[in-house]
Symmetry: D2
Subunit: 445 residues, 4 copies
C-alpha cells in the first residue's frame, strides 16, 4: 500500500455465508483499517452464492457511505495482485465432501471429525494443494501481503504454508476470542482486561491461566464446567475432578480425545437418525442465502450469529488492524512455534498468544506449562506433519503413517482400510494422489 | 570391591524361577566376573520358593567347583551391605496382583497389559515405593553398587530410581538381546557383528537400523514379518505396507498400540475362556519349581527357556561383566535420556544403545530418527511420568491424569472409574494412597 | 494494594542524585500510577544526601498538589513492608569503591570498567549479597512486590535475584530508552511508532532491527556512525565497514570489547592526568546536591540531565505504569532468558524486548539473530555466572575462574594477581570472602 | 572394497615427512587392515619430496614382504578412484605461507598461531577450498570412502567438509592419543584401561575425567602441572590454583588463551632472535629428507619422532582399523556435534570421544560438563564458523567479522588492518577472494 492510498483486500472464498460479518467489520473499523478495495473471489460452482452475498456486501457498503469498492470475481490472480491482505475461507469439495469426511470414519467405529479427527486429514489432503496454489499467486503478485487463513484444518493449512511457501501467513480460529467474550460476560470485565493463556494446537488447545483485571480466575472457571461449551461441539460436561487435576481448561474440541467413547456414540446415534453436522450446516446455509437475497437487507442479519462461526470476522478484522497499525496488542493465533514448545520443531504451527507487531506476530513464552498435555500435543502434531507431507507429495505411505499414528484410530488395519475408502471417495480432489486427474475445485467455506 | 577380592552380588527377589539362569551365567563367566558371594533375598511369603531355587543354586555351584558362596536370606540389608551389584526381580503382590492388573481393565474394554498398558500403571504404583525403599538401603549400605533392574515396568521403575534416588541404576529387558539372537541365527553371523539401533522406551521401542557384518539388512527384516514375533505377545502379523512405510521394526509390545482392536479382542476372548497370561505364568512356574525340587538336578533345566523371559540373565551377566571390566562394548539399556531424544526431559528413562564404560553406560546418538514414532513415545512417556509421580506421592490427581492420558484409555470417565476399582483392589499394596495401611510385601518376580 | 488504595513505593538508595527525576515521573503520571506513599530509604552514611534530596522531593510533591506522602527513613524493613514496588539504586562502598574498581585493573593493563569490565566484577561481589539481603526482606514483608533493579552491574544483579531468591525482579537500563529517543528525534517519529529489537546482555547488547513507522531504517542508522554515542562512554567512532558486515548496531559499551586497545589507552591517559570517571561523577554529584539544597527549588533542575543517567527514572515509571495497568506494551528489560537465546541457560538474565503484562514481562522471540555475537555473549555470560556464584558463596576459586575467563583479561596470572589486590581493597565489603568481618554498607547510587 | 579384495588407500600430500610413520602403521597392522594399494599423491612442486619419501616407503614395504603396492602420482583423481580411505595432510602455500601466518600477526601485537590463532584463519582461507575440491573428486570417484583429515586447522577443515560436501569425514589430531600415552606411562597402565574424557574443539579441548583402571586420577594429573606439556608449545607451567578450580586439564594449545600475554612475549622474543616455528620445522624437515634419501634405510627413522607430530599416523591407522572392522572402540575425534554440546549447532565440528562403529563414529555424551569453558568454546567456534564461511564464499565481510570476533584480536581496527595485509600476502592462494587469479597449489604438510 502506498502511504496515501487505502488498503486492498482479497477474500478467497468470498461467497461464504460468513462474508457479511467481515463486511460489517470493515465498515465499523474503517478509520483504523482504511479499506478501499474489497475483492470477493470464488470459483465457478460458487458463483450463485458469490453474487448473492456480494450484492448484499455492496448494499451494506453503500448504506455506510464509505469509499469502499466491492469487486466480485472468479479471477483469483486479479484479486490478489497488489493486495495488502488475502484471507481464505474455502471448502474444497464443498459440503458434500464434508459429509463424506464425517460419515466414512463412522463406518469403522472412528470419530469422523473434520478438523482434528480423521475427517480433518481428508480435508487437509484436498485443501493444502489448493492453498499452496494460492500462495504461488501471492508470492508472485503480492509478495508483501499477509495471508490470513481461516480454512480448516487451520493449524495444518497454516503449517503447510509456513513450510512450503514464502508467504507471510497466520492461521485464525474463533475459539480464543469466544473464550475471552465468555469470560468478559461472566465477570463483566472489558476484554482487554482479561489475559487468557492459550497453548497447544489449533482445535487442540488448553487454557492454563485466566486473569481478570489482574486476578487469577482459573479455578473459578474450572469449577464452572457447565458454562464452558460451544455450539458446534455437543455439550457434554467435563468431569470436575479431572479438570481440577488438569489445572487447565481444555478446548471443547478436546472432548473428542478426552471423551472419545461418548462422543463416538453420540455421532453414531446421530448418523442413525440421518443427521450429520454437514447436513445441518447445509440447511442453515440455505436459509442464510435466502435471507441475503432480500434486496431490502442492508446489514448483517442476526441469524448469521447462529451459524457457529461467530467472531471469525471479528478475529480477522482485529488482526488486520493490528498488523496495519503495529498496535503490539496480544491475540491468540496460529503461528510458527519457534521455541515456545521446546519439544516441537521450530516450524510447527501452534496456537498461542502473540503480540502483533507491524512486521508480524511474535509468540509469547508460556507462563505456565501444561505437563499433562505434552504427549497428546506431540502425538497429534506428529500425525499432522505426516498428513501435511502426504498432502504436498501425494505419497500414500505418508498418509498411511499419518492415519495409523492418529490417536483416535484404533489400529493400522483400520487406518489402511479407511484410508483406501476415503481416498477413493475424494479421487477428483486429490490430483497429487491420482496423477493425471482433474484439478480440485474450491468453493467458499 | 577391594582389588584382590571377589565380587558380592545381591539378588532381590532371589526366589524367582529365573534365578537358575542367572546362576548359570555366573558360573560360565566366572573368569571375567569373579563372583565370590551371591546373596539371594526374598520376603517371608516367598520363602518356600527361595529355598527350592536356592538349594538348586547351591547344587549348581558345587557342581562347577567354583569358589562362590550362595546365601539365602530374608534380611535385605545384610545382603545389600557392601554389594558390588544389586539386581531386582520382584513382583509386589505376586501373580495374583498381576491377574487383577490384567483382568480389571478388560471389564472396561481396555487392554490389561502389565507393562505398557493400564495394568502396568498399577504395577508401577505397587512397585516403585518398594524399589525406592531398596534404594534407600543401597544408598546407605552399598553407595557404589550398581542396581540392575529387571522389575517391570522396567522403564518406569528405572526412571523412578533416576529421579528419586542417588543409586546408580540401569534398567534391563531381554527383548534387545532376543532380537540380536534372532538376526544372528537368520544370517548366521556372530552377535558382535550385528549393529541394531534401538530407540524408544522400555517395551515401546523401534529398531531403525540392522547392520549385519556391515551390510544394511533392515529392508529384509521388514519384509520378513512372520519371523518377527515373541512368545509372550500373541503372534499377529504386521501389515507389510505399514512396516515398509514406517522404515523401522516395531517392538512386539507395540502391537498393543498398532493393533489395539485385535489385541483387545484376543484378550477378551481368552478371558472368556478363563485364561489369562497371569494364570498361564502361574502354572508354568509351579511346574518349574517342581522340577527345581529334584535333588538330582544340578544345572539349569531346559524347560526354563520356555518361560518367556529367556536371555534376561544373559543380559544381566553381560552388563555386569562390561561394567566390571570397562569393556566399552555396546548394549541396549534403559538409561537417562540426556539429549538423545531432544523432545524428552534429560532425566526421562529411554531404551537405547549404550557403550558400557567402567563408570557406567553412555547412550549413543541415533543415526536414524524415527519421525513417525515421536508422538507415541512422548504420549506414553507423559503418562509414565505422571504415573511415577503418582506412585511416589500417592496423589490420586496424578493417577487420574496419568490414566486419562494413556493412549489405550478411551475416556476420562473410564480412566476414573477403572482407577477407583484398581486402587481398591490393590489397597494393601498402596500405603502411599491409603495412609495408615500395612506396608507392601514383595515376593520374587 | 487494596483495590481502592493508592500504591506504596520504596526506593532503596533514595538519597541518590537521580531521585528528583523519579519524583517528577510520579507526579507527571499520577493518574495511571496512583502513588500515595513514597518511601526513600538510605543507610546512615547517606543520611545527609537523603535529607537534601528528600526535602526537595517533598517540595516538589507539595507544589504538585497531589496526595503523595514522602517518607525518609533508614529503616529499610518499614519502607518495604506492604510495598507494591521496590526500586534499588545503591552503591555499596560508594564512589570511593568505584574509583578503586576502575583504577586497580589499569595497573595491570586491563580496562577498569564498572559494569562489563573486571571492575564490574568487584562491584558485583560487593553488591549482590546486599541485594539478596533486601530480597529476604521483600520475601517476608512484601512478597507480591516487584523489585525494579537499577543497581549496576544490573544484568548480574538481576540474575542473582532470579536464581537466589523468590522475589519478582526486573533489571532496567536507560540505554534502550535512550536509543529510542535518539531514533525518534532523528526521524521525527513518535516513540511508539519505533520498533527496535535489542538482543544480548545488560550493557552488552546489539540492535538488529530498527523499524520507524513500519520502515526498516537499520542500514541508515549503521551508516550514521557519528550520531550513535553516549555521554558516559568516550565517543570513538565505529568502523563503518565493520558495522555494515555486522548487520547490527552495537551498544556503546561494546566499545570496550571491539576497541579494547584504544579504550584502554584512553583510560590510561586519563588516569595519568589524574582523572577517572568516578572522580568526575563525584564532582557532578556534589554540584547537584548544592543545587538541591536551594529551598526555592521545587522542580527537577535542568542540570540533572547532564548526569549521564538520563531516562533512568522515565524507564522506571514506564515499567511501573505498565505492570500496574497491564498495558501489554513493549519495553526492553533484563529478564530471565527462558528459551530466547537457545545457547544460554533458561535462568540467565538477558536484555531483550518484552511485552509487559499485568503479571510480568514476557520476553519476545527474536526476529533477527546476530550470529556474530553469540560467542561474545556466551563468553561474558559464562564470566557473569561464575562471578554471581562467587558473590553468593564467597568462593575464591569461582572468582578466579570468573576473572580468568573474562574476555578483557589477558591471562590467568593477571587474573589471580589483580583479583588478590581487588579483594584486599574491598575487604570490608566482602563478608562472604573474609568471614567474621563487618557487614557491608550501601549508600545511594 | 569387494569382500575378497584388499583395501585401497589414497594419501593426499603423500610427500609429507610424516608418511614413513603411516607406512610403518600399515605394515604393523596389515592383518586387521589389509591394505593392498597405497597411493601417495602430491603436487608438482612437491615432487622431489614425494619421490624421496615414496622410495623409502617402497623399501619399507619390500622389507616387510607384504602384498602392498605403493603408487606415487600427481594425478589425484587416479589415486582417489575407488579408494576405501583418503587421508589428507596438505599445506597450501607450504612452509613459507606458515611463516607469514605466524609473523604478520606479531607485527600487530597478536599471537601468530597457525591453528587456533589468527594465522590459523589464513591457513583455513587457503586450505578449505582445496580440501573441498578434493571432496568433489571423492564424491564422484569414491563416494563410500572415508576422508580422514589431518590437515590443520583440522577442526575448521572438518567442519567445512561436514557442511559443504557429502563426503564422510573425520578430523584427527595427535594430542588425545598423546595424552593417553602419557597417562599410560605415568601409571604403567595399558592404554585401553584408561578413559580420558575430552571436550571442546580441535586444539581447544579440556580433559574433564581421567580414569585409570577404573580409578579417578584427575586430581593427581592436575597437581602434576610440570608433567603436562608438549614439544610444539612452549612449556610454561599452569598455575596450580587455576587448574584445581578449573577441575579439568586444558589442552596445551589453550596456553595461547590462558597465558596470552606470556605466550605473545615469547613469540615476540623468538621473532626478534630470527626464529619462528615455521623456520624450525623447515630445518627439521630438511634433515629428515636427507635421512630418508639414504637407500640403506628400510624402516621409519627414529629422528621422525622428534618432528612434533608423533602419533598422527598411529591415530590414523587406529581409526581405519576400527572403521574397517567395526570394533566399536572409543577414540577422540573431530566430528559433528549433534547434541553433545547443547549450545553449539548440530553440524559444528567438536573434538570428543566417539565409539567407532562400522558406519562411522558416534560421539559419546559427556559425563562431566566444563561449565567454565563454555564461553570460550562458543567464542572460538563463532569465529571458526565465520572463517569457514569466508573461505567458501571469499566474502571479505565475513573475514572481517571472523577476525574481529577472535578472542586473541584486541580490536576491530587491528582485525581489519591485519586482515588486509594477510589477504594481500596470500593473494595467489585465495582465488575466492581475488577472482581471476591462479588456482592455489598444495604441497604435502
Amino acid at each position: 500500500m502506498a502511504a496515501n492510498q487505502g488498503l486492498k483486500i482479497a477474500v478467497i472464498g468470498g461467497g461464504s455465508s460468513y462474508t457479511p460479518e467481515l463486511i460489517e467489520g470493515f465498515i465499523l473499523h474503517h478509520k483504523e483499517l482504511p479499506v478501499t478495495e474489497l475483492w470477493l473471489v470464488d470459483i465457478e460452482p460458487g458463483l450463485r452464492k458469490l453474487n448473492i452475498v456480494g450484492s448484499l456486501a455492496k448494499r451494506m457498503v453503500q448504506e455506510s457511505g464509505l469509499p469502499i469498492t466491492v469487486h466480485l470475481t472468479t479471477d483469483r490472480r486479479e484479486a490478489i495482485a497488489g493486495a495488502d491482505f488475502v484471507s481464505t475461507q474455502i471448502r474444497v469439495g464443498m459440503l458434500d465432501a464434508r459429509a463424506r469426511d464425517e460419515s466414512i470414519p463412522l463406518k469403522y467405529g472412528v470419530i469422523g471429525q473434520e478438523t482434528t479427527g480423521p475427517g480433518g486429514m481428508m480435508k487437509a489432503l484436498r485443501t493444502i494443494p489448493v492453498i499452496l496454489d494460492i500462495c504461488r499467486d501471492i508470492e508472485e503478485l503480492a509478495p508483501d501481503a499477509w495471508l490470513l487463513n481461516f480454512t480448516n484444518p487451520a493449524g495444518m493449512v497454516t503449517e503447510a504454508v509456513l513450510r512450503y511457501s514464502k508467504v507471510k501467513s497466520i492461521g485464525l480460529c474463533n475459539a480464543p476470542i469466544g473464550l475471552i467474550k465468555q469470560v468478559s460476560a461472566k465477570y463483566n470485565a472489558a476484554p482487554d482486561r482479561i489475559y487468557a493463556e492459550f497453548v497447544g494446537l489449533n482445535h487442540l488447545h488448553w487454557i492454563t491461566r485466566i486473569d481478570v483485571e489482574g486476578e487469577d480466575k482459573l479455578d473459578e472457571m474450572l469449577a464452572d464446567t457447565a458454562g464452558y461449551s460451544a455450539k458446534n461441539v455437543p455439550a457434554r460436561e467435563w468431569n470436575p475432578e479431572f479438570l481440577q487435576s488438569l489445572r487447565a481448561l481444555p478446548s471443547y474440541y478436546l472432548k473428542y480425545f478426552y471423551m472419545t467413547d461418548a462422543m463416538l456414540e453420540e455421532q453414531l446415534t446421530s448418523a442413525k437418525q440421518g443427521a450429520n453436522r454437514a447436513e445441518v450446516v447445509k440447511r442453515v446455509e440455505e436459509e442464510l442465502f435466502e435471507i441475503y437475497s432480500n434486496l431490502e437487507l442492508k446489514e448483517k442479519p442476526k441469524q448469521l450469529e447462529q451459524r457457529g462461526g461467530a467472531f471469525y470476522s471479528e478475529a480477522a478484522v482485529n488482526l488486520m488492524r493490528s498488523l496495519h497499525n503495529g498496535t503490539n496488542d496480544i491475540q491468540t493465533l496460529n503461528v510458527a512455534n519457534r521455541s515456545i514448545l521446546s519439544f516441537l520443531p521450530e516450524d510447527a504451527s501452534i496456537e498461542v498468544n502473540c503480540v502483533v507487531t507491524k512486521t508480524g506476530p511474535l509468540p509469547l513464552p508460556l507462563t505456565r506449562n501444561p505437563p499433562m498435555a505434552k504427549g497428546l500435543i506431540h502425538a497429534v502434531k506428529t500425525y499432522e506433519q505426516l498428513a501435511i507431507d502426504a498432502a504436498v507429495t501425494g505419497d500414500r505411505s505418508l498418509a498411511i503413517q499419518a492415519l495409523a499414528h492418529h490417536p483416535l484410530v484404533p489400529s493400522v488395519e483400520v487406518a489402511i482400510t479407511m484410508l483406501d475408502e476415503m481416498l477413493e471417495a475424494n479421487r477428483e480432489y486429490l490430483p497429487n494422489f491420482f496423477a493425471g486427474k482433474e484439478a480440485a475445485s474450491a468453493a467458499a467455506e
